[in-house]
């Protein structure tokens, strides 16, 4: 592990950006990105869980027996997810209602478990913190971008702080399929395609 802390952080933003490069955790990615706001909210919740679980897993990595490590990760992750759930209920209730079941489902998000298993269990606290934060921000940006594209074409608006802003004029006919499940897949596929093309 010759990488510097800064590299650990920035790899999550582009070279290993979670939903596009790792193609992990697609369930919430496809389901909640109907609006920009949902995407950002989901991303921030996941970021919090990622950072906290990475820190705790890496600081406990010497104490956790190898055979039950997955069980330990899940306990740690589930704890933080429940914390997020309660805090969101108390302070951002409307957003919590929109994200619904997908907040508790962060527990089984492959990105969170994947970072604990692949990174935090083998690296120090600071590196794990940088990794979690980078991955989380990358995830948030991806969700926001996907949400922006889908919302823009699917309903012709962009929602920020509960207020949908009309981007196109009133004569705009929204492509309703963009906010349904097929639109999510097509949009994700096209964005993956663009990312791969820029790489070449």
């Amino acid at each position: 592990m010759a990488k510097t802390i800064a590299q650990e952080f920035t790899k999550g933003l582009w070279s290993e950006i979670p939903p596009f490069r790792l193609v992990l955790g697609l369930c919430p990615v496809l389901a909640v990105t109907k609006t920009v706001e949902n995407g950002i909210g989901m991303g921030l919740a996941t970021t919090f869980v990622l950072v906290c679980s990475n820190i705790l897993v890496s600081s406990l990595r010497k104490a956790i027996p190898n055979k039950v490590r997955i069980a330990c990760f899940i306990i740690i992750i589930a704890t933080f997810v429940t914390v997020v759930e309660l805090v969101m209920q108390a302070y951002t209730y409307p957003l919590f209602l929109k994200l619904g079941i997908f907040i508790p489902l962060i527990v089984v998000n492959c990105i969170v478990l994947g970072r604990s298993e692949a990174f935090a269990f083998k690296n120090g606290v600071v590196a794990s913190f940088a990794d979690g934060l980078g991955m989380g921000i990358g995830f948030t940006l991806s969700l926001a971008a996907l949400g922006a594209v889908r919302e823009l074409f699917g309903s012709g608006t962009l929602t920020i702080w509960e207020t949908p802003i009309q981007i196109f004029g009133p004569s705009f006919q929204p492509f309703t399929f963009m906010i349904e499940a097929p639109g999510a897949f097509i949009c994700l596929g096209l964005m993956l395609c663009v990312m791969n093309m820029t790489e070449k």
Binding site: A31, P65, I75, T79, V83, L86, V87, Q89, G100, I101
Partner: protein, 196 residues
């Protein structure tokens, strides 16, 4: 053997730490969550059901203890008479309980309105019970007695397409609401008399 003990000890410590932390946060956010729910979830449903009431139903509420459970009743004043109450009941949905608010006119036991308050149904499918007003509109003016069942079970309720389990949950909640209403009607009438 030593390894096994270590595994058990580590898991136990982790779990108890997790439990303690969550209990503390739960306690700290409980009041806040209740206020949020009343304003965001129940508030709109109550106001929609008791639309046109001349009072503030959320402020004019009373509690009745029913079989060990404390229930909130929200009063709706129409034409100068406190003739309607709204209260909550719940039924099992596709994932977790569905809470509904039922408004009932006590003079003829008819439903003033129904609204879904809390649920964790599949977004876009079962969640339509809440977002699609035409589903709950079918209950308006029906008498709040007997059992409610979806049509595929031989009942009278039009189910949401693709969300039969959710529709069943709402029907169960309504049936329950009917039972609660029947049990508590004398007490409700008493409370409304005092309110006047």
């Amino acid at each position: 053997m030593r390894e096994m003990i270590k595994m058990i000890v580590v898991l136990t410590i982790l779990c108890s730490f997790s439990g303690g932390l969550l209990a503390a946060i739960r306690n700290g956010t409980k009041d806040k969550i209740e206020t949020q729910q009343l304003t965001f979830v129940k508030g709109p449903a109550i106001l929609a059901i008791l639309e046109g009431a001349s009072n503030a139903p959320i402020d004019d509420r009373f509690k009745i203890v029913d079989q060990g459970v404390e229930r909130n009743f929200f009063i709706g004043v129409f034409d100068g008479k406190a003739g309607s109450v709204a209260f909550e009941s719940s039924g099992k949905g596709f994932s977790g309980d569905i809470g509904i608010m039922v408004g009932v006119n006590i003079s003829d036991d008819s439903i003033v309105g129904v609204g879904v308050t809390t649920h964790s149904e599949t977004p876009g499918v079962g969640s339509k019970a809440k977002s699609d007003p035409s589903f709950v509109a079918q209950f308006k003016d029906k008498p709040l007695v007997g059992s409610f069942q979806v049509k595929s079970d031989g009942g009278q309720v039009d189910a949401l397409s693709g969300a039969t389990v959710t529709s069943r949950g709402v029907s169960v909640a309504l049936t329950d609401a009917g039972a609660i209403y029947e049990r508590l009607k004398p007490q409700i009438v008493e409370k409304l008399k005092v309110f006047k």
